[in-house]
Symmetry: C2
Subunit: 339 residues, 2 copies
DNA sequence: TTGAAAGCGTTACCAC
DNA sequence: GTGGTAACGCTTTCAA
């Protein structure tokens, strides 16, 4: 009863159109010289039979699947979602489809799924990696872009932001407004992104002539709950800080909730700066000052670089390119002037 | 210098292991009888050569790519993200990888990308479709699950929630608390989900002996800004409603922001119920009562059903299965008692 | 237990 | 302009 999509092959088309498969292939791919008459004839048959070319078979001969693979730690964190969104958008415009998987931040999982994508012959990879050393990345011989977390000597391109500067600017902003009891809430320093934020904070403090008090460094898990707990602890200490730098989006959300639950006023009882925009930071009054990074753009950038690499057939090991996107301190009024 | 992944084929392995490709194939796939000695030998070579089987080539002969394709309107809306997340999780456990694309709610785009996935020989599809009529879906001859938006006579399975009941319960809750000026903010009735929510509201109103006032039906775009504007308009009318039902997550967020900007108090000056949980609804005090739906579970359910279909090699046109997941009214205190 | 060879749906080269 | 056919990397009969 219904038109059948698929299971029709190029041979069927050739047969009913009374031409060779070679000819059909030519009209499918457009580029070859074939008389207008046969072209029309073939096109008509393709339409009638509802023929969809098996691009996977084609990929066997031309060594190109037009598939991009994206590997992220966690598929529901808005930051990763934004990166994926940017990638998919650019990919589809360029005729690529996108494979996606999340690793739950587990190295073994990452290896497994990466290999699975390799087996599927993806043309290139965008990795927000979980592996901490270069050797995993070094064995990859296909165009690959490392996003957000960069591993030195990996031999691949990277798209990152200046975490160091972001944290530095935020901390300096506190100092300029007269704060000295400035706390930082972050997570494990497993990757450069988190580590750099911490050291950006450190440097600004020292440069500002304030020696950072370890009591004011709460190192938890990068998750909301950790931000919540750490904020409670900080604010209930004998000498609470006057300012808190929340080193990622989830920690910032946790901090906002904790401050609310303690019945404190942001920008009055406690100053706050977050890293990365988030729904809550934008909602509360005053809005929370944040270090803003171009999340979606990280995905589009990475995809563009990757597709270029693929088209140039250049692997990147010769001269890896590192693109550092700009961060910006968005001052919204959650920092009180103390002087 | 570095171990090479890929470009090594089964032939290379066979050659260096001094066996036939058939034998190598057997050990890769485990299932066949092959002596322990040769097995070990082959395995060793595979490891040394860092051989990753080309599963795409394999798929040509066994007609199975182990790829699932997910098509959503918008890749960054938390609802779709949750569905994708659930799907990916189930898929990878079952050995499938996931292709993802967003259509921007455009029928032509949907057709294009669907066809692209078809050409890639995906084994099955999960669609949050944009097409409004059955014919598009009817031509699909591969296992397919329609999620959230169901199209009758599509010939495919569906995973949905009871939008009608959700809206009905929400409205009834308002009525029971003595409200009569109950507004609803929704978007276009292009699909069953939105339409059902409206009619659930209608029925509850009528059953409650209140004839719905068209002034209190704001039909905008399903986006946050629309929810914001509609709320402003409603509350600035001569006779504002005492209760608002925000028919999706984004509209609800917009409503919350508008209420905040009008300096009104939720649950006091205006009662509010949302559809779908969201960050803001959970943050404000009192929390906003919402119709909760199991978003992530919709994805896992769909993936499980799909994989079962694929394994059974059953297309679904014979007896489509509709799974309706439960919604629940989470009463958090944003509805004032008027009687 | 192992190997040879056909075949999966394409493309691309080489003839005509 | 068009057709025949080898080749892509694998699986799976069929024989040995």
């Amino acid at each position: 009863m219904v038109v059948t999509k698929r299971d029709i092959t190029i041979k069927d088309v050739a047969k009913t159109a009374n031409v060779s498969v070679a000819t059909v292939s030519r009209v499918i791919n457009g580029l070859d010289r074939v008389s207008e008459a046969t072209r029309k004839k073939v096109l008509k048959v393709i339409d009638e039979l509802n023929f969809v070319p098996n691009t996977i078979a084609a990929s066997m001969v031309n060594k190109k699947t037009n598939m991009l693979a994206v590997v992220v730690p966690e598929i529901q964190n808005p930051f990763y979602t934004a990166v994926i969104g940017g990638t998919v958008e650019v990919a589809k415009k360029a005729g690529f489809v996108t494979l996606v998987v999340s690793t739950n931040g587990d190295e073994a999982e990452e290896s497994t799924y990466f290999e699975s994508f390799l087996g599927k012959n993806a043309d290139g990879f965008i990795l927000i990696g979980t592996h901490k050393t270069a050797d995993f990345y070094q064995t990859i011989r296909k165009p690959t872009i490392l996003v957000d977390r960069y591993i030195d000597n990996s031999g691949h391109d990277g798209v990152m932001i200046d975490n160091y500067r972001g944290a530095y600017e935020a901390t300096k902003h506190f100092l300029e407004y007269g704060h000295t009891r400035i706390a930082i809430i972050d997570g494990k320093h497993d990757f450069n992104d988190g580590k750099d934020r911490y050291w950006g904070y450190q440097r600004a403090m020292v440069e500002g002539g304030v020696s950072p008090d370890p009591k004011y460094h709460k190192q938890g898990s990068w998750l909301e709950d950790s931000g919540y707990q750490s904020t409670l602890e900080l604010m209930q200490a004998e000498v609470p800080p006057t300012a808190i730098f929340a080193a990622n989006n989830l920690i910032c959300q946790g901090a906002i909730k904790a401050i609310r639950d303690l019945n404190l006023e942001i920008g009055e009882d406690i100053s706050l700066i977050g890293f990365d925009e988030n729904e809550l930071a934008e909602f509360v009054k005053p809005k929370v000052t944040v270090v803003r990074r171009p999340t979606r753009e990280m995905g589009t950038q990475a995809a563009e670089m990757l597709i270029k690499r693929i088209k140039d057939k250049s692997t990147d090991e010769t001269n890896p390119k590192k693109v550092i996107l700009d961060v910006e301190l968005m001052k919204y009024g959650s920092v009180k002037k103390m002087n």
